[in-house]
């Protein structure tokens, strides 16, 4: 039933400046790339991609950026939230040598799929792109998977100076890459897609959502593709036909907002 289940927070952990992970009991299966609708009673309900998956516990990682995330940020162990989901399709791993490109908090939802790649013994490279080094999180977690971890910062305070997509382009020119998986700012993802040409590509999209069950139309992109149900993961061939991709999103009223 698509009705929030009330559950207490098991933990709330600071990952970096203004970035936290919260965990809660959820015994069902979740595919990396899927999301939950997280209800903070009296405040809001927002879609959050899963950043931690164990058998009985799931977690989400977010930046303290709006009303809902500010409220979530302040919650402590034992405080109650409502969870419905998981929703969406999740990633599908193809190819042997994988490149993961995360930008900002988009890095968080890539962690479970990188861990899945490790279980399948697929050699992976992870690019973590942040504005500045203080915003970096999950570096140890990615290194523990045995993946090659590269860091880019917009200001050059750590690692490669520039955008994660540009670093990815250099890697693709130097090394064999069979498929690219990404989550982050949409303009970064759309430049990445243009560098990938025919290479298999999957990106996780974020849109303002309301129902999350495929009827309200709020999160639609392209020809009626519902990010909540047909996505949030879309492949490169689909995204090449989506005029919205990397260009605009819609606010709660349906007005177009350019990225």
């Amino acid at each position: 039933m698509n009705n929030p289940i009330i559950t207490p927070l098991l933990a709330s952990t600071i990952e970096a400046t203004d970035i936290k992970t919260i965990t809660f009991q959820y015994p069902g299966d979740v595919i990396p790339g899927q999301f939950f609708m997280v209800w903070i009673p009296g405040v809001d309900e927002i879609p959050m991609s899963v950043s931690q998956i164990t058998k009985s516990v799931k977690g989400i990682t977010f930046r303290n950026i709006g009303d809902a995330t500010r409220a979530l940020y302040q919650l402590k162990k034992g405080d109650k939230i409502g969870i419905r989901g998981p929703y969406g399709n999740g990633f599908t791993l193809t190819g042997k040598r994988l490149l993961f490109v995360g930008g900002g908090t988009g890095i968080a939802m890539l962690a479970p799929v990188v861990e899945q790649a490790r279980k399948k013994k697929l050699p992976s490279t992870v690019i973590m792109g942040v504005k500045t080094k203080d915003q970096l999180f999950f570096e140890d977690r990615f290194r523990q998977t045995g993946a090659t971890v590269l860091i880019s910062t917009d200001d050059g305070s750590l690692g490669y100076k520039g955008f994660a997509s540009d670093l990815a382009k250099e890697i693709m020119q130097k090394e064999r890459v069979d498929a690219v998986y990404t989550c982050g700012p949409e303009r970064m993802m759309s430049s990445l897609l243009s560098f990938c040409k025919t290479l298999p590509f999957q990106a996780s999209l974020e849109r303002y959502m309301k129902c999350a069950i495929g009827i309200c139309g709020q999160c639609c992109v392209g020809n009626g593709l519902r990010v909540c149900l047909d996505g949030p993961i879309f492949d490169g061939n689909t995204l090449k036909k989506v005029e919205d991709f990397g260009v605009y999103r819609r606010d709660a009223s349906g007005r177009k907002i350019l990225f």
């Binding site: 039933m1 698509n2 009705n3 929030p4 009330i6 609708m37 209800w39 009673p41 009296g42 405040v43 809001d44 309900e45 927002i46 109650k80 409502g82 959502m209 309301k210 129902c211 999350a212 069950i213 495929g214 009827i215 309200c216 139309g217 709020q218 639609c220 992109v221 392209g222 020809n223 009626g224 593709l225 519902r226 819609r250 606010d251 709660a252 009223s253 349906g254 007005r255 177009k256």
Partner: protein, 285 residues
């Protein structure tokens, strides 16, 4: 046809519903100004239906016009749904919709969860008659009036609409309802109350359509809980000439339009009917 408020945020989503077999598209309800609607949760699934309080979110008539224009390359009829607080605003929206080349208008005087609008307008027969009269005087396309089941004076309202020369009645909008979460003691919807739709409200819709059919001579478009072909046939028998589908897009996916049409055909074949006309009002005794 696709009911208002479902998969009609933009041209792309309406295009997809057309490709899925919707015979006509009713747009989401559009107002003069952009409106964000309510905070989430705006939709919650209950045992036998969906409860929503979107709060009439829409980008405003000017911007929405761009979406409608993109669809004008197809020949599937588009019915522009509009909401307003008074006759002047309704007329201005109706004229704009006509300029965007929609095939008909649906006046939303029945949304159960928006202050000043919808049901608050649609429970007053004098106001309904004034609005419909003004709109009819200013546009040449057909005008449908969508009514609410949440009123005791339904017959009066539809007769007022007929008197004002409305071309059809659309019945019903959602049923006012509420869901409270026991653990947190919070109403789940941010707006606290909302409109119930889906299977659970079908008997309510069928009753309303039946009552309306006894009271007016203009056609009725049935909507409310139609999920299968047999549901549609029940509405036809109650007096509806056409039907709309909303929540069933969730229950059966976007292909529900094709499936329901097939199921109607099969039922008719098995029962020896050749035209839907034979079924309309078949339950009148």
């Amino acid at each position: 046809m696709l009911a208002s408020g479902i998969m009609d945020e933009d041209a792309g989503s309406m295009q997809r519903m057309m490709e899925c077999g919707a015979g006509a598209i009713v747009t989401k309800s559009i107002g003069v100004q952009p409106r964000e609607g309510y905070a989430n949760p705006t939709v919650v699934e209950l045992e036998y239906g969906l409860l929503n309080a979107m709060g009439l979110p829409n980008p405003g008539i000017e911007l929405y016009g761009e979406e409608i224009k993109k669809l004008r390359t197809t020949n599937v009829p588009i019915i522009g749904s509009i909401y307003a607080a008074d006759a002047d605003e309704f007329v201005s929206l109706a004229e704009k919709m006509q300029r965007f080349d929609v095939n008909a208008l649906e006046l939303n005087v029945s949304c159960p969860h928006a202050k000043q609008y919808g049901l608050e307008v649609g429970c007053d027969p004098v106001l309904v008659q004034e609005i419909v009269t003004s709109v009819k005087q200013n546009v040449s396309i057909p005008v449908f009036v969508k009514v609410s089941p949440n009123i005791m004076n339904l017959v009066q309202i539809v007769q007022a609409a007929e008197k004002a020369t409305a071309d059809a009645i659309v019945a019903i909008n959602t049923v006012k309802a509420m869901k409270i979460d026991l653990e947190t003691k919070h109403p789940v919807l941010a707006n606290k109350t909302g409109g119930y739709s889906g299977k659970a409200i079908k008997p309510i819709g069928v009753r309303c359509v039946y009552d309306i059919a006894q009271a007016v001579d203009i056609p009725i478009i049935g909507v409310g809980g139609i999920t299968t072909g047999e549901d549609a046939i029940e509405y036809f028998m109650a007096g509806a000439s056409a039907v709309q589908i909303g929540s069933a897009v969730y229950y059966r996916g976007p292909d529900v339009f094709k499936s329901v049409c097939e199921e109607i055909k099969t039922w008719m074949r098995n029962h020896g009917y050749t035209t839907i006309k034979e079924l309309i009002g078949a339950a009148f005794r």
